[in-house]
């Protein structure tokens, strides 16, 4: 599945544009969508899933123009979506909820729905509780129900809005692996604030800021933004000026900072950048 976003603008009344003339092409596979709060990630995902319409501009999915209702309807047949905020029905069990979503997705055969629901709940590690009411599950478990429902109907396009928020580390890694597997033969768009998730799973990344495209391309390329600018300082008393601090490690002699800057303090050692460094380097550029 190939997604082409062409001069997309979305205005909400009385607000700065949530998306501002965004143009980007997204290839097949796993795509990370990152950017600060309010950058327009959720808005973009809602447009890509055919839920809301852009004010201006167009989206083409495999060449199909989403401004046509028939194409939107067609897209929704092969779509899995995990909204950022979702609270599944408390009184249903995970199995019941997935069955319900399967019906909304027009999977007519009850046996097929039940089999899919079972398999998916096993994949997200909910086999023990699949018959208990969702209301009694922990926040992370509900999140996993949300992830599993997105996968009902074996969608060709999977759009997941901050799916790993609130998951414990083990589950996060499990989920990451699951997404990476899914991304092998379909398109997965993953928005997240956890850059490590993107670094580990997404070969392609798009950075939004104020509704604009700040970077799109291979994840390697974003890391490369910080090449030659990433340093580790010796233990010092005060944080360095003119630098973006990535992290601070207290030591008995003072604090050792990892920074992105053109003017490192004396005694700093250049180090290989990671995705966080690249992201922060890009953020400090403008």
């Amino acid at each position: 599945m190939f997604i082409s976003i062409d001069h997309l603008t979305k205005d909400f009344r009385g607000r700065p544009a949530a998306l501002n003339d965004l143009t980007v092409d997204l290839p097949q596979g796993m795509i990370g969508l990152i950017g600060p709060n309010g950058a327009g990630k959720t808005t973009l995902m809602r447009i890509l899933t055919g839920i809301i319409k852009p004010t201006e501009g167009k989206v083409f999915i495999d060449g199909q123009d989403l401004s046509l209702p028939a194409n939107r309807r067609n897209l929704k047949r092969h779509l899995g979506y995990l909204p950022q905020h979702i609270t599944p029905y408390d009184n249903l069990s995970p199995l019941g909820f997935l069955d319900y979503i399967g019906i909304l997705k027009m999977i007519g055969n009850k046996r097929v729905r039940q089999e899919q629901a079972h398999t998916l709940l096993e994949q997200v590690g909910l086999d023990d509780v699949m018959n208990q009411p969702i209301g009694g599950l922990s926040g992370g478990m509900r999140r996993r129900v949300g992830i599993a429902q997105a996968l009902m109907g074996d969608p060709q396009l999977l759009v997941v809005d901050e799916p790993t928020a609130g998951l414990d580390p083990e589950e996060r890694m499990r989920f990451r692996t699951l997404l990476a597997q899914l991304g092998q033969d379909r398109t997965v768009i993953l928005s997240t604030h956890i850059l490590d998730d993107v670094a580990q799973t997404c070969p392609w990344v798009c950075v939004l800021r104020f509704g604009r495209n700040q970077y799109d391309g291979p994840t390697e390329g974003l890391i490369h933004e910080a090449a030659g600018h990433t340093w580790v300082t010796p233990p010092i008393a005060a944080p360095p000026d003119n630098a973006t601090i990535i992290n601070a490690e207290p030591t008995p002699q003072g604090t050792r900072y990892r920074i992105v800057t053109d003017t490192p303090p004396a005694g700093s050692v250049e180090t290989a950048p990671n995705l966080e460094d690249g992201y922060m380097a890009l953020a400090s550029e403008r």
């Binding site: 809602r46 839920i51 809301i52 929704k76 905020h85 979702i86 599944p88 069955d99 909304l104």
Partner: protein
């Protein structure tokens, strides 16, 4: 079919409610008939026959508001409107059927207040239809359960105390508000087809 079935399953308690109310009122009529005079029973029946109308409005307000997965429903080929309208039809169908039974029972026992023959069936059936159509409109407009519930009471008060006592011809009494309610429901139906509005309204709460 599976779709209607699963909605029915979600609502079955509220679907049973009108039939329980009907049974209750009929039973009350049956018992009172043997101990009181018709003159004393009629006013009681006047009150009791309003209970299903109020219950219909409140149940509809409850059913049509507060669903947490509107955005998810909009991302499926089914869409939110179909869910919403199916629920409206189920709940309204149940209350209409029960109102029909209630009228039939009381009519045969000669206990229906202001009975003008079978044509009087339009009074209970019409009230429920009117209240539910308008509550649907309000629910789509406001997506608020408290507002929809209050509106359902207000519509009922209007019908019961302002409209019905003065427009006594049973057909005209119902035809005019029915027409308005149907127009309201069509308007609501149109508005409910706007996925962006549905998602944004709920997200803003």
């Amino acid at each position: 079919m599976a779709f209607v079935g699963i909605q029915l399953k979600r609502l079955y308690r509220l679907v049973l409610l009108p039939f329980i109310l009907t049974a209750g009122v009929l039973l009350a009529g049956f018992v009172l008939e043997s101990i009181w005079s018709l003159r004393r029973i009629r006013p009681v029946m006047m009150v009791l026959t309003q209970v299903p109308v109020i219950a219909a409005g409140l149940s509809t307000a409850f059913v049509l508001n507060g669903d947490p997965i509107v955005e998810l429903a909009e991302s499926t080929p089914t869409g939110w409107r179909k869910v919403q309208v199916t629920r409206l039809l189920i709940i309204t169908g149940a209350f209409l059927a029960a109102a029909g039974l209630l009228f039939t029972g009381l009519h045969m026992m000669r206990l229906w207040p202001r009975d003008m023959g079978w044509v009087s069936i339009v009074t209970p059936v019409g009230s429920i239809f009117i209240v539910n159509c308008l509550v649907f409109l309000i629910a789509v407009l406001t997506t608020s359960m408290p507002t929809s519930s209050l509106a359902s009471i207000a519509i009922w008060l209007f019908l019961c105390f302002i409209w019905d006592p003065y427009i006594t011809d049973p057909v005209r009494q119902r035809l005019i508000p029915l027409f308005i309610a149907a127009a309201g429901a069509i308007f609501g139906w149109n508005m409910c087809g706007d996925a962006e509005r549905n998602v944004v309204r709920v997200a803003a709460l």
